[in-house]
């Protein structure tokens, strides 16, 4: 059954993607159908908890299994996929086999990721997910910006993936030859730290944690349903999931857990600030994703696996809801600028209401889901460090602030002239009708319900009890206060440039990594053409004199090489032909001299 769980979306997705335009007609329906099937299998798997494996490479097996954490994850992933695909049916631009196929592959890869029991399989799925994110973000391939955004996403996450490769090698070196995730904490000696570091880097990169957050901002170029899936149950969630899964490993090293916790907390706080500073709804949501994932990372760092998992699931429902709603508006109104979205919620009540529910959950308002889950995380953090707790609490407050800011804008009375398509409007024509359709509405409502109620999940599944009730109350009160305060000042909130540009990390990355690499590539290419390729040449020329080298430098690179050898050889050849003067007496003289030399050699060397 577990094979089916991953094979169904992967195979269906691959088939759809390969079929291309021919399958466009059936693609939306097929996508929803497959996603439904996958959800059904996922639920069944979550109940039966199967485990399978097969040999992969020498000594390393490809294993899949569903345990408590992954049971939660498979259902979340399948559910989010279904919701997003169902909603996307309404958008004519996305009714293609390419979209449905890649989405299913994307989800399938995530399913493999969360069920993988060995590092090898995890890595495979992990990378495929990255490639699919490229394909989906660059869905509008004719727009150079979209393609560039896809590049950024793929390359940034792949940069982090290097950590996974290293971790795999280190695990083998450290004695965990099977690369089973469960065996990783047993790696010996320094290799344990290498494994951990590699995994942490990979996870943080995938989850868009600081300092690799910027790719998420660019990823907003993709269609909104893509964002919805990418931000909720796949991709960014994968990093958090991996850290939660490997919490024992983090703990085993001693340094990794606090480091991860601090990175998560810092991301939660700083990205919260970034979110507050955004004027673009999708950018705001993206930054909030980073921030919220930060809580999960924090949870992994402080050992609050249950809270982190709950946070992940609740956030998945909330964020997919919010992105779908934002996407609906983008399609309908042609803009995602907060200033131009005034009155959007009033005109489209259902979207507005569901969006508000989601935002409220995101804000951490009691008794909605994220209030509970976030506080489970914060409680776990409090056990470790008060400072961590304080930072987390501040971040939670920020989430209330930016959620309120978004809601405030969309409920403002409309300004029709702006809605018609302002200077910042995207290319999507305003007023394309209601794309979401009944299926889409159902998806929104369903997600809203989940976003509201999933807070109870941890109590239902694991019977958890809030460890510090006062903490729950405190954060709830703070959230309410923050919401109230923000509602009043929302219009006057500034957008500091540093925060609005996502802390400027991308520009820094370009300056520090991308441009030097490109420059080095150019330099090496020149080196290759000019120096290495002509090394042979130079060797030949050296025999006739360095002057010629300078003389011939101007010649074309490709031709120059062969001609260069030729030049050197020609000179030598001319030299070799010089004795052949045609004059017999000179032959005699040369022969006599040569024989004399030979005789000398024979006499002297013995």
């Amino acid at each position: 059954m577990l094979w089916w769980l991953v094979a169904v979306p992967l195979l269906a997705g691959a088939l759809l993607a390969v079929a291309g335009r021919r399958a466009d007609r059936v693609a939306p329906a097929a996508g929803v159908l497959v996603a439904t099937g996958a959800l059904a299998i996922a639920i069944a798997a979550a109940v039966t908890r199967p485990a399978v494996d097969a040999p992969l490479v020498a000594g390393i097996r490809a294993g899949l299994a569903v345990d408590g954490l992954s049971a939660l994850m498979v259902v979340t992933v399948a559910g989010a996929t279904l919701a997003v695909l169902a909603h996307a049916v309404g958008d004519p631009e996305l009714r293609t086999a390419r979209f449905a196929g890649f989405m299913l592959l994307f989800a399938g890869a995530m399913l493999v990721t969360v069920t993988a029991t060995t590092l090898a399989v995890l890595l495979m799925a992990w990378e495929v997910m990255g490639a699919m994110s490229w394909a989906l973000i660059a869905y509008r391939w004719w727009e150079p910006e979209s393609v560039t955004a896809g590049h950024t996403a793929f390359l940034t996450t792949r940069l982090a993936d290097v950590g996974l490769y290293v971790a795999a090698g280190a695990a083998l070196a450290g004695g965990a030859g099977s690369l089973a995730l469960a065996e990783l904490p047993g790696a010996n000696g320094p290799w344990l730290h290498v494994v951990t570091a590699g995994l942490v880097v990979a996870a943080l990169g995938k989850s868009a944690q600081l300092p690799l957050s910027f790719w998420l901002s660019q990823a907003m170029r993709g269609p909104s349903p893509v964002s919805a899936l990418l931000h909720s149950a796949t991709m960014v969630a994968a990093g958090a999931y991996l850290l939660l899964r490997l919490a024992p490993l983090l703990a085993a090293t001693g340094w990794a857990a606090p480091a991860v916790a601090w990175v998560g907390a810092a991301t939660a706080l700083l990205m919260g600030l970034v979110a507050v500073a955004q004027t673009d709804l999708k950018q705001l949501l993206a930054a909030s994703t980073c921030s919220q994932i930060g809580f999960m990372v924090l949870a992994a760092g402080v050992g609050g696996v249950r809270g982190g998992a709950a946070q992940l699931v609740a956030h998945a429902a909330t964020k997919s809801l919010l992105f779908l709603a934002a996407g609906t508006w983008l399609v309908l109104l042609g803009t995602k600028q907060l200033g131009e979205l005034r009155g959007a919620a009033r005109r489209h009540r259902l979207v507005g209401v569901t969006f508000t529910v989601g935002a409220a959950a995101l804000a951490g308002l009691p008794p909605l889901s994220l209030w509970v889950t976030k506080d489970l995380v914060l409680a776990a953090a409090l056990d470790r460090s008060t400072v961590l707790y304080a930072v987390g609490l501040a971040a939670a407050l920020l989430s209330a602030v930016y959620s309120t800011k978004a809601v405030w804008w969309v409920w403002r009375p409309a300004q029709p002239e702006v809605i018609a398509g302002g200077p910042n409007g995207t290319r999507a024509p305003a007023g394309r009708g209601r794309p979401a359709g009944r299926l889409g509405d159902a998806a929104l409502v369903g997600l809203a319900v989940l976003a509201a109620l999933l807070g109870g999940l941890p109590f239902v599944t694991a019977g958890a009890r809030p460890s510090a009730w006062w903490e729950l109350v405190l954060s709830g009160l703070l959230a309410v206060a923050a919401v109230a305060l923000t509602w009043r000042v929302a219009a006057r909130m500034g957008e500091p440039r540093v925060l609005a540009s996502w802390l400027g990390v991308e520009r820094a990355a370009h300056a520090v990594v991308v441009r030097p690499v490109l420059a080095m590539a150019e330099a090496l290419a020149r080196f290759d053409d000019r120096v290495l390729d002509r090394g042979v040449t130079a060797a030949a020329r050296a025999t006739v004199g360095v002057a010629r080298v300078l003389d011939r430098r101007g010649e074309g690179a490709v031709d120059g090489s062969v001609r260069g050898i030729a030049d050197g050889a020609r000179a030598l050849g001319r030299l070799a032909r010089r004795p052949q003067t045609g004059q017999v007496h000179q032959y005699y003289a040369q022969a006599a001299a040569a024989l004399a030399v030979l005789a000398l050699v024979v006499i002297v060397v013995r």
Binding site: A569, A576, G582, V584, A591, A594, L595, I603, R606
Partner: protein, 475 residues
């Protein structure tokens, strides 16, 4: 005395054919002279049979101590006779019906005879006499067509030979003086206690004459001029046949007559080999006339073969390598010249453009022969080079092998310079692509096939070349 003429059957067959052929030529009408050629071919064929029969008999030294009938001699006989046969075939188109056709054949036979004697000579005086006999007919062949260039070629060939012959005689005299003898056996004893300086000078002087035969530095000056100035058939003969005798003679001289400690022979020949191959290759680089290009290539080939001489006695493969290399070289070089003999008007590289279109079989034969000269497997020269390189490395001359490898790569350049226009799709020059007849093509294809067959089945021959001539007195 052991003056058993039967031991010299192949030589006597050649001589007889030469004499009878000359007499026949005096009586035959001009267009019946092919009978002389037939006689010569029959003699050479019979000689090959006689060689094969002699090869199974035990080695012997006949006519006093002056002539050895042993493995190198058998090999020389076989290679030279085979080369004579091929030369007879490839020269048909150029010489048939010519008023000096008979003389051409007779001179070829006499030159071949001299070359064989050169290879078997076991006495300095016989060596020089064979040198004369192996030289004079070829001088005449070079000037055989009486063209302005041909006579100039003959003059240069002759003057080179005369000069180095004098030097060689001087060397013989010195060796006689210090070694008290001219027979190789006596020399080995005499040189053992001889003043080394004089012996060294004498040996170098003798070697000078043999290097002239081998067309190796410093006796190589005639090679390009004589090759470029003569018709392809003659060029094929003078660049192929004398080399065989010269190199075998050098080998025999140093293995049999010279005690190992008289001079640093390996170094001497390593230097000669290195200089020959390098000079030949470099000078061939930018030649535009194909015969001149091949001429220089033969100089470098002599250099490769000399590597085996350098390590003779120090590497067990040396003799097999030398003899097999000579056979492979002879076949391959004759094949390349046979193509030229078939297309005598194509003098320059550019004249060969588009040849693959007009004469595909000939082009393939040329490609096989030139790639063979490079030493591409599975041709005969590859096996030869493999054996030579192995012997050189085994004999402690790794640097020489490396240099030979670099030279081989360099040689690829000029051979490909020739092959490239051959296989280019451009329109051929009809005048240059005029065929002279069919025999050249037959010889070319035969040689191309033979070089591949020798390359593939060469292993069967190698063991039979292994028996090293025993130094006198059972040392």
């Amino acid at each position: 005395m052991n003056e058993n003429p039967a031991a010299l059957l192949p030589e006597l067959l050649l001589l007889g054919a030469a004499v009878v052929g000359l007499l026949m030529g005096a009586w035959l009408p001009r267009h019946r002279q092919w009978l002389v050629r037939l006689l010569a071919a029959a003699a050479a064929g019979a000689g090959l049979v006689a060689t094969a029969l002699a090869a199974v008999r035990p080695d012997e030294v006949v006519f006093g101590t002056s002539y050895a009938v042993d493995t190198p001699t058998h090999a020389t006989r076989a290679i030279v006779l085979g080369a004579v046969l091929v030369a007879l075939a490839l020269s048909v188109d150029a010489t048939a019906g010519h008023r000096r056709e008979t003389e051409f054949v007779v001179l070829l036979l006499l030159g071949g005879l001299g070359t064989i004697l050169l290879g078997g000579a076991n006495d300095l005086l016989l060596l020089f006499a064979a040198f004369l006999l192996a030289s004079v007919p070829f001088y005449a062949l070079a000037g055989w067509d009486k063209s302005a260039l041909g006579t100039e070629a003959a003059m240069k060939y002759y003057l080179s030979g005369a000069f180095l012959g004098v030097v060689m005689l001087g060397g013989v005299t010195i060796l006689y003086g210090v070694g008290r003898g001219v027979g190789y056996g006596a020399l080995r004893d005499g040189l053992a206690g001889a003043p080394l300086t004089a012996a060294g000078v004498g040996l170098v002087a003798v070697v000078a004459g043999l290097l002239f035969k081998a067309g190796a530095v410093p006796g190589h000056f005639w090679v390009p001029d004589a090759t470029a100035g003569t018709p392809p058939a003659v060029a094929a003969i003078v660049t192929t046949i004398p080399k065989i005798g010269g190199l075998v003679a050098v080998y025999r001289l140093f293995v049999v007559a010279v005690p190992p400690d008289v001079l640093d022979r390996p170094l001497l020949f390593a230097i000669l080999a290195a200089v020959s191959m390098t000079l030949g290759n470099l000078a061939a680089f930018f030649q535009n006339t194909v015969q001149r290009l091949l001429a220089y290539s033969t100089i470098s080939q002599a250099g490769y073969a000399m590597m085996a001489v350098a390590v003779a006695g120090r590497a067990e493969l040396a003799q097999q390598a030398l003899l097999f290399y000579l056979a492979a070289y002879a076949v391959t070089n004759l094949g390349a010249f046979a193509v030229l003999a078939e297309l005598p008007r194509a003098r320059t590289l550019n004249d060969h453009r588009g040849m693959a279109r007009r004469h595909p079989a000939l082009a393939v034969a040329l490609a096989v022969c030139l790639l063979g000269l490079i030493g591409t497997p599975p041709t005969a020269v590859f096996v030869g080079k493999l054996a030579v390189f192995t012997a050189a490395v085994d004999g402690g001359y790794l640097w020489l092998a490396v240099l030979a490898i670099v030279n081989t790569v360099a040689s690829v350049f000029y051979y490909l310079r020739w092959l490239a226009p051959v296989f280019r799709g451009t329109e051929p020059d009809p005048a240059a692509m005029t065929r002279a007849g069919t025999w050249g093509a037959v010889a070319a294809v035969f040689c191309a096939c033979l070089t591949v067959v020798l390359g593939v089945l060469g292993g069967a021959i190698l063991p039979s070349l292994a028996a090293v001539p025993a130094p006198p007195h059972g040392e």
